[in-house]
């Protein structure tokens, strides 16, 4: 193991995660091979994609759709499935 990782006594008790401690994890690296592509002109800000996204990977600006967080999107295609206006389609990486 790399020596620069913290020793047992430097880690919080039982590995408890406190704000600011965890390096921002990027879990989008193992996406399925497709990612959502959004046609902004078709989006009506219904936010169904935000409600259904299992990885909280839909970014909001207040109550408006503001994009997809590709560092966390797994390519599950649920957002494209639930979008009522066809604004989201899955495209190859």
């Amino acid at each position: 193991m790399p020596a620069e990782l913290p020793g047992w006594q430097e880690l919080p008790l039982a590995g408890t995660v406190v704000p600011g401690l965890a390096e921002r994890p990027r879990t989008g690296s193992y996406r399925t091979g497709v990612r959502p592509a959004v046609t902004d002109a078709l989006c009506v800000d219904c936010l169904l994609c935000w409600i259904y996204c299992p990885d909280s990977a839909v970014i909001l600006d207040g109550t408006s759709f503001a994009g997809i967080d590709l560092e966390h999107c797994k390519g599950c295609e649920i957002c494209a499935e639930v979008c009522p206006t066809g604004a989201i389609e899955m495209v190859a990486e």
């Binding site: 193991m1 790399p2 990782l5 913290p6 020793g7 047992w8 006594q9 880690l11 919080p12 008790l13 039982a14 590995g15 408890t16 995660v17 406190v18 704000p19």
Partner: protein, 383 residues
């Protein structure tokens, strides 16, 4: 203090009412049931304000206890045998998440064959789980240990589950005279409690129980090893503090007539009461016998055991649990403690599934007329 006649189940329930824990998630099982039965009555009578959670299994009992304890609530549960076996998966997690849950255990043989009587196989099942295990000798010590366990579990350098083990039926269901502290003294002793980084602190949110890959798992497990190391001196420190209130010593080990002993028995739990009587008889007959009772099985007081047995020429370990394919657990720990010491060491397995150990058996062991398995019918191999 005046003595009262109480069973182990009643006295642990009484201690729990005096401790007045915030939450008790529990599922009944013989021989633990009298504990929760009496405690539920005390709560119904207004003697404690505890939230009793009637869960659907022991797996759920410990799961609820972890959530409760990590939320910052003082939490106690109780179990035995198959209940502890069902709970075992979550017992490891309680220790790993450093949940200071106190567990009253009525020790009972594990199935199979199914049996309801005492041996220590249930405790041994979670031997390496990272929980502290204190073994009471009698009803009085079950009471004292419950009070000490709360303080021990909640120490900031420990924060581990503490099991208070009492022999099923022998202690849980047997009435003995006991001296009780008054409620105010108990509450002053256990004091208030604040868990570091509680889950319900919304100003400083935390996430408990993270996934740990090869780069962190070893270090997080090692934190438990260190907590156990801190627990060992803490037992004696708290034992002294409690002894000032009760007048009764409590320590990780109890040496009995060991000072000038040539030969010593080593055992856990209620058997010590019987062995003390036999030691007295042997002493009366001119045999220099003594007893070393192990009160804290985990953490195992290795150095204290080696020190206490330094002067004896023979140590005889009595195990109330079997380890098929290996030496019995207490024997293995004592042997490791005495490695390199100049003495004879032998071990016997006795009392499985509640089989009684009689004074004559202990005399036979002392005289070397007993096989490895005390009272076993039929030839055993190896002898």
């Amino acid at each position: 203090m005046t003595a009262q006649l109480m069973t182990g189940g009643e006295v642990v329930a009484h201690a729990m009412a005096q401790i007045d824990p915030d939450v008790v998630p529990v599922y009944p099982i013989t021989p633990q049931t009298p504990i929760i039965q009496h405690f539920a009555k005390l709560v119904a009578d207004g003697r404690a304000a505890t939230e009793i959670v009637n869960v659907e299994s022991e797996h759920s009992a410990m799961s609820a206890a972890i959530g409760s304890a990590l939320a910052g609530a003082r939490t106690i549960t109780a179990t035995s045998s198959q209940g502890l076996a069902l709970m075992a998966e979550v017992v490891y997690i309680a220790a790993a998440m450093r949940a200071p849950v106190v567990v009253a255990v009525g020790n009972r043989a594990l199935s199979g064959p199914i049996n309801i009587h005492c041996d220590h196989s249930d405790s041994m099942l979670v031997r390496d789980s990272g929980v502290i295990q204190l073994f009471a000798e009698n009803v009085q010590e079950a009471y004292d240990a419950m009070l000490l366990a709360v303080r021990l579990a909640e120490r900031s350098d420990v924060l581990l589950p503490v099991f208070v083990c009492q022999d099923g039926f022998t202690i849980t269901h047997s009435a003995e005279p006991v001296e009780l502290l008054d409620d105010e003294t108990v509450r002053a002793f256990i004091g208030d409690y604040t868990l570091p980084m509680p889950l319900l602190d919304v100003e400083r949110p935390t996430s408990k129980g993270p996934f740990a890959m090869p780069d962190y798992y070893f270090e997080l497990r090692h934190q438990q090893v260190q907590a156990m190391a801190c627990a060992l001196p803490a037992i004696d420190e708290l034992g002294w503090e409690l002894a000032r209130l009760t007048g009764r010593p409590f320590s990780a080990i109890e040496p009995y007539r060991l000072d000038d002993a040539e030969r010593a028995f080593i055992c856990l739990g209620s058997t010590a009461g019987l062995v003390k009587d036999v030691v007295d008889e042997l002493r009366d007959a001119g045999e220099r016998f003594g007893l070393l009772r192990i009160c804290s099985f985990r953490p195992f007081p290795e150095a204290a055991v080696a020190d206490a047995l330094a002067g004896v020429s023979e140590a005889i370990v009595l195990d109330r649990a079997e380890a098929p394919g290996a030496r019995a657990p207490l024997y293995a720990d004592v042997a490791a403690s005495l490695f390199g010491a100049d003495l004879e060491l032998r071990g016997h397995v006795y009392g499985l599934g509640g089989r009684e150990l009689h004074p004559d058996d202990v005399h036979e062991i002392a005289e070397g007329r007993c096989g490895l398995y005390v009272g076993l019918r039929g030839a055993s191999w190896p002898a």
